[in-house]
């Protein structure tokens, strides 16, 4: 008996159920765990930092953020606002895609792409304005590690936007799922960034 004869015939073609959306959800979960674990370690280090007197001598502070480091809050707050705008743009893309409006989908994704580039630009501006070295202190080492990882996640999202935009230009009717998956990733990235922004840039 030949082997190929014993194998059963192929089954019916499986209708894949929103693969991109599920993958995007898993990617979001992994990203959240990644930044979440880094924030947990950040908080642990901050909580264990020794106490020191404030410069005016009136209170005791955790010796965590070196006194000479000033966080450029305009740039960091702008980053948060920019990522919120990205969310609005990707939702616009979902809205347009549902109506098979390729032009507006592409336009929305194009604007989202610009806002994402602006975020990376703002992050570089933060680095330049702070003007600190990676090895200056524990704080700076961890600061660069966590913010660079966040930037890497944004770059991955930017790549996702590029793919979604190119496919939108080609106007495939099945691409609505991809646009939704793209939006899910950016929503979760916004939440993750907001958490990092609060801990690293606001609470410091």
């Amino acid at each position: 008996m030949s082997t190929s004869a014993t194998a059963l015939n192929s089954g019916p073609k499986i209708a894949m159920r929103r693969q991109a959306l599920v993958l995007s959800g898993l990617l979001s979960a992994a990203s959240a765990m990644l930044i979440g674990s880094m924030l947990a370690i950040w908080l642990q280090f901050r909580a264990n930092a020794p106490l020191r007197e404030s410069s005016d001598g009136t209170k005791m502070l955790r010796d965590w953020l070196p006194e000479n480091i000033k966080i450029p809050e305009v740039a960091t707050n702008t980053m948060l606002l920019t990522i919120v705008i990205t969310c609005i743009m990707v939702q616009w893309a979902v809205y347009a895609s549902r109506r098979a409006d390729s032009k507006h989908t592409t336009l929305a994704l194009g604007v989202a792409l610009l806002t994402q580039i602006a975020m990376i630009n703002a992050q570089i501006a933060v680095y330049l304005q702070m003007d600190i070295g990676v090895r200056d202190s524990s704080y700076t080492t961890m600061f660069y590690a966590i913010t660079a990882t966040m930037t890497l996640l944004i770059v991955i999202g930017l790549g996702f936007t590029l793919v979604a935009m190119f496919r939108s230009v080609a106007s495939r009717p099945s691409d609505h799922d991809l646009i939704v998956a793209h939006a899910v990733y950016w929503y979760s990235l916004t939440l993750i960034f907001a958490a990092m922004w609060f801990v690293v840039y606001v609470q410091k």
Binding site: T6, I14, R17, R18, T141
Partner: protein, 504 residues
């Protein structure tokens, strides 16, 4: 199991011969394949090579420990060898074996002809493979946790990052397949138990490996820029050590439950009482992930104040004992199903059953390890837990190969040699690990080959070395048997391709 796939590999190989394709094009066909069976087999094959290497290292360490005056290994190399044994067993063997078999089988079981994001899965496999090569090179160059060469330690950290990325991509592909590619009418609750266990494993890894990656990034940046915030070279173990021991390693053992339940379902023709219980059992074992992501161990001290004892009892039981309950439920339900008079004995059952048994023994050992009064941490007891769980997973994976393999390559594996070799493998695991359980109580220190090793250490170390040798011989023989069966074994009859029941 639901098998609806044409044996494409066999057909492909026949047509390949007809058209006289050269060996190079055959290799390139394998290396660029998008077939889930081929990608899975690629991953399993490479991980079996890793397993052989790791067991050989275990044997070397076992022999070296027989006599404290032995000089087989340079004393300065010993910590690196102990480390490569642990890292290699977890990330070179346990994780890829579990994921590789899932990759080959899950889409078949859910009735799909393809795996979701097949190119991604292939890319993930390559990432894992190259990452492990980088890790191996770093160890050879005195890198690895506690290594003496700074640049090689950096290389080790990069290699581990690449390994994690690869495993994450493969896990995402498997989870997406189980969630989205099921045939019409097959709900997740009705999916075969092996699919369920693969889904739980992959999601658990997606949630825990990034936590390890986060710590790894901090340690890598700190180490590269010569800061001592994370303890420099010695800090590597301190920050990622939790991922190289229990409960994280229990996550890789979840598919062993799926394999056992699946084999029993085939033996009993899908007559599985209380199937919901099986799902709960698998789910309970995955609670290990909660312990893993918190990056800490939950111990208990028996002679502490009642209030302290009560406070630590709940997390201790939750993080250490719940996975045991899950395994016990699965074993009990499988044995209950075997009472069915229609149950037909199967050779892979031996490997799968004892594989789960070894994992269970490792889990029980972990409970003892976390009782601080027993003072077992930093003794060889911890190594024995790893050996029981790791080698148990290897045994179970070989059982899965014996069970699912004929469905892929269309040729049977002989029953008696599989049973015989399986029993030899079980003997090897018990001899390799049990003496270290006993030696742990005599305070034999972990990861040490010289100096005072404790009472009767020579006896326990000799038996453990014999166990490692037996397990190595078993592995070589079993891999040989698999290759022989796949090439020239008896052609499988139609029975193995039968659609048993989606409920199995």
């Amino acid at each position: 199991m639901t098998a609806i796939e044409t044996n494409s590999t066999m057909i492909a190989s026949t047509s390949s011969n007809d058209s006289g394709l050269s060996i190079f094009s055959a290799i390139s066909e394998w290396l660029t394949t998008t077939s889930h069976q081929r990608i899975g087999r690629l991953m399993v094959s490479i991980s079996l090579l890793w397993t052989l290497a790791v067991v050989a290292v275990g044997l070397l360490l076992g022999v070296e420990r027989i006599s404290s005056s032995s000089d087989l290994i340079d004393a300065t190399s010993a910590p690196q060898l102990f480390s490569i044994f642990r890292v290699g067993l977890i990330f070179g063997s346990m994780a890829p074996l579990a994921l590789g078999i899932s990759m080959a089988i899950v889409s078949m079981q859910v009735g799909s002809q393809v795996i979701a994001f097949a190119r991604g899965a292939l890319f993930g496999t390559y990432l894992w493979c190259f990452g492990m090569i980088i890790v191996a090179v770093s160890y050879i160059g005195n890198g690895g946790p506690g290594g003496g060469d700074r640049q090689m330690v950096d290389l080790f950290l990069i290699g581990m990052g690449v390994v994690i990325a690869g495993l994450l991509i493969v896990s995402a592909s498997i989870a997406t397949t189980a969630l989205t590619s099921r045939r019409a009418g097959l709900t997740l609750v009705d999916a075969p138990i092996y699919v369920w266990s693969s889904l739980v494993t992959s999601v658990s890894l997606i949630l825990t490996l990034p936590v390890m990656a986060g710590a790894l990034i901090y340690v890598a940046v700190d180490h590269t820029y010569e800061r001592a915030t994370f303890g420099a070279t010695d800090g590597v173990n301190a920050w990622i050590g939790w991922a190289l021991t229990s409960p994280q390693i229990f996550l890789f053992s979840i598919p062993t439950l799926g394999v056992l339940a699946q084999i029993v379902a085939t033996m009993t023709r899908g007559k599985q009482p209380l199937r919901g219980g099986l799902l709960i059992g698998v789910g309970l074992t995955s609670t290990a992930l909660i312990g893993a992501v918190t990056q800490s161990f939950y111990s208990i001290q028996l002679d502490s104040q009642l209030a302290d004892f009560a406070k630590s009892l709940l997390p201790f039981l939750m993080f250490n004992a719940l996975p045991i309950l899950g395994v016990l439920i699965v074993i009990a339900l499988c044995l209950l199903a075997m009472k069915n008079e229609k149950a037909k004995p199967s050779a892979p059952f031996v490997l799968a059953f004892f594989g789960v048994g070894m994992v269970l023994t490792g889990m029980i050992g972990n409970v003892l390890l976390r009782i601080t009064d027993l003072k077992l941490s930093n003794t060889v007891f911890d190594e024995a837990v790893l050996v029981y769980v790791g080698y148990g997973i290897v045994l179970s994976s070989l059982g899965a190969i014996a069970h699912f393999g004929p469905r892929i390559w269309g040729r049977k594996m002989p029953t008696m040699p599989v049973i015989g070799l399986g029993l030899i493998g079980v003997l090897g695991v018990v001899l390799a690990a049990l003496p270290y359980y006993i030696a742990g109580f005599t305070d034999q220190p972990a990861a040490r080959i010289t100096g005072e090793l404790g009472n009767n250490s020579q006896i326990w170390n000799s038996i453990a070395a014999i166990g490692q040798a037996i397990f190595l011989a078993f592995l070589v023989a079993f891999i040989g048997l698999v290759i022989k069966s796949a090439r020239s074994g008896e052609i499988a009859d139609e029975e193995i391709f039968e659609t048993v029941s989606a409920n199995s």
